[in-house]
Symmetry: C2
Subunit: 383 residues, 2 copies
């Protein structure tokens, strides 16, 4: 029990309780409690565990090792170099610290995107739920992926890196694999100036960069108006798709995204550092795009906490109601990762994954404002 | 707002509120309320509008005109005679009074089964939601039914009368029509001794009765162990089926029903009067059969109120928790009629159809006990 129970953004109970039996929520509400072990968490708020829908735990070890002030392409080059220098053993042990940081900050559900594949065991054995994405770049779907061996169980799925790094045929094939398995497919989309220029013209320094990495793009249908339009032409935009970033999405892109039902994960702090530019969040909210939040990796942000991400969004977009930001950080994230039946709200039938926030509030509007500005606050995670 | 808000059987809020905007619930919970017109209903309970999943409004005019103490077959004969004597005009105007009685008793969602077809317009123009079932007997599906003309819009569906009155081919064809239209199909099942004997042996007086009504049953596959087993053989048992009564369902019948996902509507007061026998409700609850409640018509019960039905069930089966009975009368009923997305609970997103009950309770167990024993209580309906 606690001073407030936020079942979800439109269901908030004063002096409420959440009854958890055998790991599952069986009752919520208020009024006298009889029987069972009652834990009084205090005057603050019990809320659903947060969802970090996009992170790269395998880059945890690169925290503070790559600077962003020389442009995005240089950052990518430095990142790849630092990743090589660090070595897999180091990256793996640091990734475990990333898991701890997620849990401590109240994140229990995550979308972990792994290029190297080194976080698969970690994710599976961690307290995290959600989706481990095996990320594919280049012109070929690895054979073990086609056979389904590269993705080991129901927690795991595929991601394509991005339109400017992964061949359209590969994107289509991966999407098809995910669809057949009933899983979410993810992709970085419309993130950088470099991606935009390359997708529009095929020119710019990105082509050279790809060639150097051995990726031949001569057969790609370059020349779309935007990355979103380019991807729409491949036919992969649907509600089983989680597109990340959308920094460069204009009015018509957002319309395309909204109509297709694509889920969008925003990583605003990462965008600010790497690109100095924000997506058009206000327009996406107005268009009804299902938005959720991610942090990206510690190579581009200072923490893996979603409370920090919520605070940053509210700071950058004060017109978006705090309860809407809260929904992005919980229910929307769980739905985007395909685990909305088990996580994202405190409704009976869902998993008993709760966070207690020691906030103070006199009414519901206050409460959501306090939660959304609680970045950095010490929280308790109840599993 | 009210002293208690029962969002659903596992979500109860003390001193709570339900916010309704443009007919839809947009928020529930507790804590200070700001803005909007606040109506304080009192110390009692706001609950979801009740669901009467099985009634025959066209027989409302036969209230107190047919006695049940000469056996079921005689009751059916008397009923048919009384129905003929009454005339359609009288039955129609009385049916309108039945609608009023439903609404006054807190029922806003109904499963109305009509053999004569005379309640279709009434149902469509009434404040009731739910399903109007056109009921078919005999050996032939009417041509207008096949064309879909006999069932006019999304509110309407088909019912077969019963295994011992409707040919198996007709049952199958109607079920197929309903499935194609995405609608619930309903049937009276395992209600009477007469049905049981006829389905088992083809003997007994029911055969004579059918012959007299011009229904030739020589090609029906009589000889099953039970009506449930007989129907299972036709392949129509699935979760889109609402079976009514199940008075004669033994352990293996209940297993069949539970495994197939069939919804079951109980009309205990009607069963008591017409058959002096109760279904095995305790076993059905234990088996996880999705149970809901109906009254049947005023030709066999004294009221169309579901609170009365709940009270009778609790009286007959005191071991069944009141919160479980409450779920039958609300959420389960809405789901059984295929309107669970709009009715049955007070969750945000659903229709603002509420009932206020002036009960008093000090805790949740008390509260459900008070609600379940509130039969006959004056309630307020909020639409």
């Amino acid at each position: 029990k606690a001073g407030w129970v936020v079942v979800k953004s439109d269901t908030v109970v004063r002096d409420g309780f959440v009854k958890v039996e055998a790991g599952m929520i069986t009752e919520v509400g208020s009024g006298p409690i009889t029987g069972g072990n009652v834990v009084d968490h205090g005057e603050g708020a019990l809320v659903p565990a947060f969802v970090n829908a996009h992170t790269h735990l395998e880059l945890t070890g690169l925290a503070n090792k790559v600077v962003a002030d020389k442009g995005f392409k240089q950052w990518v080059k430095d990142l790849l170099k630092a990743r090589e220098t660090a070595g897999y053993d180091f990256l793996q042990s640091e990734a475990a610290k990333g898991v701890a940081q997620l849990i401590e900050s109240g994140v229990v559900v995550a979308g972990e995107v792994s290029t190297l594949g080194i976080t698969a065991d970690l994710f599976a054995s961690s307290p995290l739920s959600g989706v481990w994405f095996r990320e594919i770049l280049g012109n070929r779907v690895p054979e073990d992926a086609v056979a389904g061996n590269g993705v080991r169980d129901s927690c795991c799925s595929f991601a394509a890196h991005a339109p400017h790094t992964t061949a359209p045929d590969v994107i289509k094939e991966l999407k098809k694999l995910c669809k057949a398995r009933g899983q979410v497919f993810s992709i970085h989309l419309a993130e950088s100036d470099e991606e935009l220029e390359f997708i529009r013209t095929g020119r710019g320094s990105w082509g050279d960069f790809l060639r150097k990495r051995g990726i031949d793009f001569s057969s790609w249908p370059i020349g779309a108006k935007s990355p979103v339009e380019y991807l729409a032409k491949t036919g992969v935009l649907d509600k089983g798709m989680l597109a990340v970033h959308l920094v460069h999405a204009d009015r018509s892109d957002i319309k395309l995204v909204a109509e297709s039902g694509v889920k969008v994960c925003l990583c605003l702090r990462s965008n600010a550092r790497l690109h100095g530019r924000m997506p058009d969040v206000v327009r996406m909210v107005a268009a009804g795009v299902p938005l959720c939040l991610g942090t990206d990796s510690l190579a581009s942000v200072d923490s893996l906490g979603i409370l920090d991400e919520m605070a940053f969004m509210s700071y950058k977009f004060p017109s978006i109601p705090a309860s809407v930001v809260f929904a992005m950080a919980t229910e929307n994230g769980a739905k985007a990762l395909g685990v909305g039946r088990r996580f994202g709200t405190l409704e009976p039938g869902k998993t008993g994954a709760l966070v207690y926030l020691p906030v103070r509030a006199s009414n519901r509007a206050d409460l959501f404002d306090s939660i959304v500005s609680a970045g950095g606050m010490q929280v308790s995670v109840i599993l």
